[in-house]
């Protein structure tokens, strides 16, 4: 294959050894060339502006600027660059946020050389690739009942946040300038929406499912 037809790739990951491993892995494929590396999201954006690669392999969790934010920024400053999210996290939030930010593919860090090379080629042609784990997550997200806490009102979320802080009904009432019997009503609605029967459980469920962070 002629030199100018190679697919030019940049690797963005904050672990030096991971970048080296990916580079060595991609060296096995003649049609793909790694033209640069970045140790964080900001460096990835900078290097893309300089080298205009075809593809960025983007880790999601990086210092300075995370992978999701970097993907969003690239969509503005280098709209022709395709981002492949490559991560060891497989929770729903990450998959959806990465795709919303503009990633064309979502791969897990258990991908084989052939799979990675194919995803790079497909992305070069504007086609998506999803790791089976990510596909599973998206299917589950569309078919299963919504996560606990999805139906909480704004007020209830506000009160739940204060419960997590450890405030009792009276203190919550004072904070929000409402009567403690109103607070009590809200709290019992919150408990039933979360399917719990004590404050302690509700707080644990909230933290475990990261309920207050989503939305």
């Amino acid at each position: 294959m002629a030199e100018e037809q190679k697919i030019r790739v940049i690797i963005a990951d904050d672990h030096d050894m991971v970048r080296k491993g990916l580079r060595v892995l991609l060296e096995n494929f003649d049609d793909i060339e790694v033209i640069g590396e970045a140790g964080d999201g900001q460096a990835a954006v900078d290097i893309c502006r300089r080298l205009s690669p075809h593809i960025v392999l983007m880790d999601m969790i990086m210092p300075r600027l995370g992978g999701i934010e970097a993907t969003e920024r690239l969509r503005v400053v280098c709209p022709d660059v395709h981002v492949i999210a490559l991560t060891s996290f497989e929770n729903e939030d990450n998959v959806q946020r990465a795709l919303k930010a503009g990633a064309i593919a979502y791969l897990m860090k258990n991908v084989s050389g052939d799979e990675l090379a194919n995803a790079v080629r497909r992305a070069f042609n504007g086609l998506s690739t999803l790791a089976p784990e990510a596909a599973q997550i998206l299917i589950r997200a569309t078919t299963r009942p919504p996560s606990p806490g999805h139906d909480l009102t704004e007020r209830e979320r506000e009160i739940l946040a204060l419960m997590v802080e450890g405030l009792n009904n009276r203190e919550i009432g004072e904070r929000l300038v409402i009567s403690s019997s109103t607070v009590k009503n809200h709290v019992s609605n919150i408990l039933s929406k979360l399917g719990t029967n004590s404050r302690t459980q509700a707080v644990a469920v909230t933290v475990e499912n990261n309920i207050l962070a989503t939305k």
């Binding site: 672990h15 050894m17 491993g21 892995l25 969790i61 060891s88 860090k109 707080v203 644990a204």
Partner: protein, 366 residues
């Protein structure tokens, strides 16, 4: 009907009898009105020793302790501390003399749920104080349980994050390298061989990281040995396989309070993580020294450094280090400049107090 079980610790028999009578009256009147919700059961102890023994034997048998602060075998706040040290779920209402109402307030600040002034109390007030004290104690225990559960959840999250950040990255790289070595096996044996050296190095790193995480799963392992041992356990496998040369100077340190030991270990961990991940250093120096009253941890590298004003602190765990240092009352100084390496220094004062404690224990044992 709700039965409230009261332990009265009171050496003045007249007072004890009066309290009993008030509570009995309260039980009766309430029962006569049939809308009864509560009845009191009472046990009287006349010394702290006797009361403490009863509570210790069956801490769940009492809902509230009525505690006279002035007893034949104990006086003042000490009386309260010895009862609350038992850790029973019972609420504590202290009884003070007419002339030292301040003692009551102080007792509440030290963990009692309420206080009553003898000679300025009647049956109604006593019953109400007991009911409120029990409620207050209940929500206090619930809050404590809540924060324990929260801490456990956060701890699990932290471990999961660390697993993702260390072992799983290393193993992924290891498998990518191994795959490449296999692909190059016949085409380019020399290259294949050199990649295999990386595979070997990475698998050793993964093992070392695994060991550190196992240490995290048994936090006791961090505090049951000396600081020097903890550092050696952590550093030996880690440093052997990194491309920088390292120099260790670890003094023996007298046994530290558990939180100080863990805090210093965590700060070191965070600093060394930064070096391994970001510094591209060729030389690293790690030292733990005891100088008089001071314990000094210093970690220096000659790597790329960073601009402390530009780097967002969260990304390098600097805020975590700050927080850890603050928690144990240590001073943390991080000196770095782009291109000039990084120096982390932690200074903890308190070695003197430790040795004093040790000598005083030895004296006591004699």
């Amino acid at each position: 009907m709700q039965v409230m079980r009261v332990l009265i610790i009171e050496d003045n028999q007249g007072d004890a009898r009066l309290f009993r009578q008030w509570l009995l009256d309260a039980s009766n009147t309430i029962e006569q009105r049939v809308q009864s919700e509560q009845r009191f059961q009472m046990v009287v102890a006349t010394t702290l020793r006797e009361g403490a023994a009863l509570l210790q034997e069956s801490p769940r048998n009492f809902d509230v302790v009525l505690l006279d602060l002035t007893l034949s075998d104990s006086m003042g706040l000490d009386t309260l501390h010895r009862i609350s040290a038992i850790g029973a779920p019972a609420a504590i209402v202290v009884l003070t003399g007419f002339d030292d109402a301040n003692a009551g307030l102080t007792a509440v600040q030290h963990g009692a749920q309420d206080y009553l002034i003898k000679g300025d109390t009647d049956g109604k007030l006593l019953v109400r104080a007991i009911r409120y004290a029990i409620e207050r104690r209940r929500s206090q225990l619930m809050l404590a349980e809540q924060s324990r559960e929260l801490a456990a959840v956060q701890e699990r999250h932290r471990l999961a994050r660390e697993l993702h950040d260390s072992v799983s990255q290393t193993l992924f790289t290891c498998s990518a390298m191994a795959e490449s070595a296999l692909r190059q096996w016949d085409i380019n044996p020399t290259k294949s061989r050199s990649i295999m050296q990386d595979v070997h190095r990475l698998s050793v790193t993964a093992l070392a990281e695994m060991r550190v995480l196992l240490l995290e799963l048994r936090p006791m392992a961090l505090t049951q040995t000396t600081l020097k041992q903890v550092f050696l356990q952590y550093l030996t496998p880690l440093l052997r396989h990194h491309p920088f040369t390292s120099e260790l100077e670890l003094d023996e340190v007298p046994p530290l309070p558990a939180d100080v030991q863990v805090g210093i270990y965590r700060i070191a961990q965070e600093a060394i993580n930064n070096i391994v991940k970001h510094a591209r250093a060729t030389q690293v120096k790690i030292a733990v020294e005891v100088r008089g009253d001071q314990l000094i941890l210093s970690i220096e590298d000659d790597g790329v450094g960073f601009d402390p004003h530009a780097a967002s602190a969260t990304s390098l765990g600097l805020d975590i280090m700050e927080e850890r240092a603050k928690d144990i009352g240590a001073e943390l100084r991080i000196i770095s400049m782009a291109g000039r390496g990084t120096r982390v220094r932690v200074l903890w004062r308190g070695i003197g107090a430790l040795t004093n404690e040790i000598t005083s224990t030895i004296r006591n044992e004699r």
